[in-house]
Structure formats: structure tokens, C-alpha cells
């Protein structure tokens, strides 16, 4: 499974989903990638920090959404945990440097929005991001054991994958069953997110292809569009949270 997803991700990521070949995960670390510079929190310290406190972290880029208006939203991880950097003030030039594995140092405020623990920033604070020397690529972690469990939140923001989940009829309270395996947020010209509901056991989650991470040109977007109700798939992505788990899918394929 890991091989499949690694290969799939390699084809699908665009700043996370680009079609360019992607480096394979870094082999067994020879150095301590969780080590922090002076004045930087470990993940445990970050995790323990109260909301609305100032935090400084170092991490490695997993992917990022499209740069816009001097901001970029970044998914990042270190060997101990993961971070969601919401609307990080950033020049377009620096955003181009945020390739997968790039080490960064970020100073902002620990925040929570609809259950998503994230780092937010003062508007226009162009000092929040420092691009550092270093490179480490996180390998996706199997999170099957947490499906349907409240403990899934311990995996929040990490690069994870789930195996053997079933594609549901995409149903909304408004419309009832639609007979479709997925739903466009904007069906007219596909310029927004793509939703899919996946079930394993008694639990169904709604995941999405986040448009600004993987747009309609990416293979993952097209792969979700090709899903059928009842398909059993493996799915990989960044474990975002929106009133519950809301994986930002970066790869999907038939279950192995």
C-alpha cells in the first residue's frame, strides 16, 4: 500500500499535487530531524501550549495551497507532529521555495478554527517565515486504527493514509441521495473543492480535494471524479479538521 501511495503521490502533487517527479521519502534519518534550534518549540511544547499564545516552530513542508495576496497556507510536519500554517504571510518568491521537504521556521499564534488547531499570523507580518537549511520528507502514516475513534485527532495535520474505505452515495441533508460518488462545491466550472464521503465500519467521514492544493488539472482531482459508489479505495492526504476529520486528499486509488 505504501508503495502504491508513494508512487501515486509522486505523480499527483501540485505543490503537494504536481505532476513532476517527487523525491522518495528520506531513508532512515542519520540526523535528528526533530531537533530544534534555540528558542524553537519541540512539537510536544507546541502541543502543550495554550491557544492564542505565541509559538515558534520548525518543520518541513508537506505541501501548500496556492499563493495569493502575499499569503500561503502551508501543511508542515516534523517527525513528532504536524502543523497547519493558515495564511502565512509570504512573498511569491518565498512561496516558490516551499517545496516538499523544505525546512522552515515560523512564528505565529496557536489558534483553533472549527476544531482545526493551526498557527495564524498577524496580517502582513512578513517576518513570520524563515526558510532554513535542511530537508526531510515525511512518509505517510497508516491511520486505519483511528478510523471512527476519537483518538484520530491525535493524527491531526499529519500526512496519513487509510485503506479499504468505501465510497458512499454523496448525500446532503438538502438533496437526499444524489446517485453520485462525489460532489463539486462548484459544479459549473470546477473552480472549487471536490467532496467525497467514505465509510469503514459504522463511521462515515467527508473528505475533500482542496482546490487550492490540488486543482482540477491534477490527477487526484480526476481520480476522485472517476470514483463510483461502492468502490473500495485507499486514500492519502493531510489530516485537516473541519468540525471533524476532513482529510485533504492528495492521492486515491483502488484498495490493494
Amino acid at each position: 500500500m505504501k508503495k502504491f501511495l508513494t508512487a501515486a503521490v509522486a505523480m499527483m502533487m501540485l505543490a503537494g499535487c504536481s505532476n513532476t517527479p517527487k523525491p522518495t521519502p528520506t531513508p532512515e534519518p542519520e540526523q535528528d530531524y526533530a531537533a530544534k534550534s534555540e528558542g524553537v518549540m519541540t512539537f510536544a511544547e507546541y502541543d502543550a501550549a495554550e491557544l492564542d499564545t505565541k509559538v515558534t516552530i520548525e518543520a518541513y513542508v508537506l505541501g501548500h495551497q496556492s499563493w495569493w495576496n502575499d499569503k500561503v497556507t502551508v501543511y508542515a510536519q516534523d517527525p513528532d507532529g504536524a502543523y497547519f500554517l493558515y495564511e502565512l504571510p509570504c512573498s511569491e518568491e518565498d512561496a516558490a521555495k516551499l517545496v516538499e521537504g523544505q525546512k522552515i521556521k515560523v512564528t505565529g499564534y496557536k489558534s483553533e478554527w472549527a476544531g482545526e488547531v493551526e498557527i495564524t499570523f498577524d496580517e502582513g507580518d512578513m517576518t513570520a517565515l524563515e526558510i532554513e537549511e535542511g530537508n526531510w520528507i515525511a512518509e505517510a502514516v497508516n491511520a486505519d486504527e483511528f478510523w471512527g475513534s476519537p483518538d484520530l485527532i491525535t493524527m491531526q495535520n499529519r500526512k496519513v493514509y487509510f485503506t479499504g474505505v468505501t465510497v458512499e452515495d454523496y448525500t446532503t441533508d438538502e438533496d437526499g441521495a444524489t446517485g453520485a460518488a462525489f460532489a463539486y462545491k462548484n459544479p459549473t466550472d470546477k473552480t472549487d473543492d471536490l467532496y467525497v464521503q467514505l465509510t469503514k465500519g459504522d463511521t462515515t467521514y467527508e473528505f475533500c480535494v482542496e482546490y487550492y492544493l490540488c486543482n482540477e488539472e491534477t490527477d487526484v482531482y480526476k481520480a476522485v471524479e472517476a470514483l463510483n459508489i461502492g468502490d473500495v479505495v485507499d486514500v492519502e492526504g493531510f489530516l485537516y479538521w473541519y468540525n471533524g476529520p476532513n482529510l485533504h486528499i492528495t492521492a486515491v486509488g483502488a484498495a490493494e
Binding site: T53, Y109, A114, G124, E174, K185, N186, T191, N243
Partner: protein, 527 residues
Amino acid sequence: MRRKIAAALLCLCLTALCGCHGSRGMSAFAIPEEFDETKTYELTFWAKNDTNKRQTAVYEKAIADFEELYPNIKVNMRLYTDYGRIYNDVITNISTGTTPDICITYPDHIATYMTGTNVVVPLDELFADEKYGLGGNELKYDGPRQDEIIPQFLDECAIGGTHYALPYMRSTEALYINRDYVEALGYEVPDVVTWDFMFDVAEAAMAKDEAGVFLINGQKIMIPVIYKSTDNMMIQMLRQKNAGYSDADGNIAIFNDTTRELLETVAVHAKSGAFSTFKISSYPANFLNAGQCIFAIDSTAGATWMGSKAPLADIPADQFVDFETVVRMVPQFDPEHPQMISQGPSVCIFNKPDSQRVLAAWLFAQYLLTNDVQIGYAETEGYVPVTSKARNTDTYQAYLEEAGTDGNLHYDIKIQASRILLDNVQYTFTTPVFNGSASLRDAAGQLIEKVTKSVRRKETIDDAYMEKLFADVTALYRLDQKQGGAAYTEDSLGPLPAASKALLAGLCGVWVLILGYLAWDYRRRSS
């Protein structure tokens, strides 16, 4: 060598002239005598919906019906869910000459689009055109006359005395209240809620037991007041206080003592946890519906998400709690003289070299004001039609009368929200539009967001803080760089920027050198 110098000077001169030529933009649009139906026109329409599939369906039906009437016009729609993205994309496309033909937008944004020459089509002559104007005799549909557009809404589309847009839909903000919780705290919901009342109830709701559970809802989460659009919050508070915001000439007046007092009030309730915002906490509807908020303030155009039986929802069904929702106008300082913002999408058309294509765009823009489109779209949310023609139809009146008869099309909270605006149009207002007014609006919201965040971050809110806040927000939104007034006539664009002055001076210098060289050369040859 001299020849080279002369050629270089000429090149420089031509380059400079070319630069000037490029900046002049297109010629002003002139209405063609007749619409040419022998040619085909492919139009681009940038629209916005509220993540509501019914709105998309209304747009699609409008396009299909229009194309049936005008088979030579094809309308390609691009949908956005965010006005900010439309604004950004239009700005980008102005520079490349690839603007859409028709665009849903806000007048604040149009003011910025108009910094280019003849980019946005002024509409007054089109309004009055006998054949193709509002209610024109050559139209293939029954459009409204100008006097059938609600005057207040039409006025909102005028910049410097000229109309640059048509109103498309209008909404205001509403206060969605969990009445059960208010009454459980010993209060009665008044017809007009004041800010003081709301914050009194909110503070009363903050009582917890020893385990940190809120007594009012038995949960660990309770944010009694959540405001969706803090720019509107500040704008309405200032208006209700008759305090400064800006004038039509673009003079910024927001940094005043009343603003400080309002921010101090915000700080008090942010500190107790009784107040938060969408940007900081998430959608007010989600907290309201989960019994974690008592006063949710959001657009009437978000009404279908509000209430324990809301037809649209973002939270799992098991997180909903049952309560009675009531809808009121936004909180007031003076209930006898209420004031509330008028907002909602307008539609503008962009100039193109082919005036026939612009006329085709105008025909479609105007079609959006026909009854079926107006009523169809208004019924998707707590919007109201912008024409009396649509409002007075039996269809729309029946829709209003049937409030609560079902939980979807006639969802009572949605229709109550629409009535807030229908019944109070005389109390609505808009803010002055000028190049830079969109930034000022952002700054107004940023003041509240920043104070709320700072309190949560345990920063001290005092005079020094306010001074720095005002300075920071001024710099961030470039409010110290007045960008122009509301009157966009050719002769009232203000003094030339320094760069332009330098360019003109350079041009003069070039001509002096050329003429000097020619004179010297002539004298040399003569001698």
C-alpha cells in the same frame, strides 16, 4: 555618432509615447443604433454564489432562457464563492485586457476597476436608451423600467453621480437568537435588540460550574456573541453613533474617539469570552445550531444555515440542539432610529473594443433583473428582489405568506430574515464609494479582529495600544495614501503622481534635445 544619438533620442521618445499610448485605454463605449443579430457574441459572466446549489441553478436557467431569446449570444459563466477572488481576478485581467463582459461585484470594487480608462461601462445612457434601455421597446423580455428598481438600491450603484452597475440582489445583516437560552437567563427578547442588552445577556451566559461546564448549555463551549463580518460591525456601530468613517471624497475619518470606545467595549467582551468573530472561531451558524452561541450575527443571505432545523448545515446532525430561533435586525444603540447596512451583489459590464458585444452584455445584465431571475434567486436565501416589479408579483407575495409551511423553500428563518430588509429599507445605508473604500472596509474589520485577538493573547489594551493599532492598520491598508475621490471625470483625477510628472518632464527634455540637435545641425549645414 551624432546619428546614433539622434536615433537613440528618437527611440526614447517613441518608447515614451508608446508608453503613454498604452495607458490611455479603450475608447468610451457608444451605444450602437441597432443590435446586430446576424453576428454571434460569446460573453463571459463572472458570478458568485454562497455555496448554494440552488443559486447556481438559477444562474444556469437564466442563461439558458436568455440564450433562447437571443440565439446569437452565448454566455459562459465562471462561478466564484468569494468576492475577494473575483476582485483580484478582475484587477489582474484589467492589465491584460481580458476582463469578463459581465461581473457580479460590489460598488467598492468597481471604484478600483475604474482607475483604468473606460474599463467599466457607465450605464446611464444605456438605462435611458429607448430601444435597449430599461424597459426598452426592442427588448425580447419583460425587463423592469428604471422606476421599478428600488431607488435606494439603484443609488448605491452610482459613483460620482454616474451609475456603473445594476443592483442584482440585496440583503442586510440580521441577529439570529437562541430565544430559549435568553429566556433561561431571565431576559425577554425585545423587538429591537440593543448592543447593551446583547452583551448583558452574553455576560450572564458565561457562568460555569467547577468543572468548567457552562451552566446555560451544559457544554464546555459557549461563545454567546459571534459576528461574521466585523467590517460591517464597525461600520454599523459608527453609523449608529453618528461617528466618522469616511466621506465621498475619500477622506478617512475612522480613527476617532468613538472608534476607540467601541474597541474598548469589544475588548471587554472578548476578554470574558462572551464575544468572538468568524475569523477567530468559525461560522456563527455552526455554534448557534450546536447550542454554543446565543447571538449569531450574519447576513440575511446566510439564513438557510441558521437555526436548529436549518436546511443547510456544516455540522453533523448529532451536534444540533433543539431551540427556538428568532430573527431581529442587527443590534442598535438607538432603537428609535435604527440603522443597518445594505449589501448584496451588483452587476457591472466591462468595456470592449466591439460596442455590439458590450450591448449584448448589457442585454444579459438587464435580463438578470427580470422577475423569474429575481424571484428565483431571492428565494434561495434571505435576499430580496431589487425591483418593485418582482416584489409585487403574486408569486413573490405568496412565497412570503407561506413562511414556515415547509422547512426548505419556505424555511421560516429565511423568510423572517428577508422581511428584516423588506420592512426596513428606509433604515438602510451604504458607505461612500471611492478608490480605496474597499481597503477602508477591510481596515474597519481588522480593528475589531485585532483587538479581539490581542485580548485573547493577553496583551494590554490601553491608549498606547490604540495608537499603535491605528498606525499599523493605517499602514497595512495604505490609508494614508489617499487614492482618489468619488468623482471619476477626466478633469478631476487630482494632481499627477510624481512618476507621471517625471515622465512628462523627461519627454519635454527629449524634445528639447531633439530640437536643439536639429537646430544645431541646420546651422552647421547652413554655415
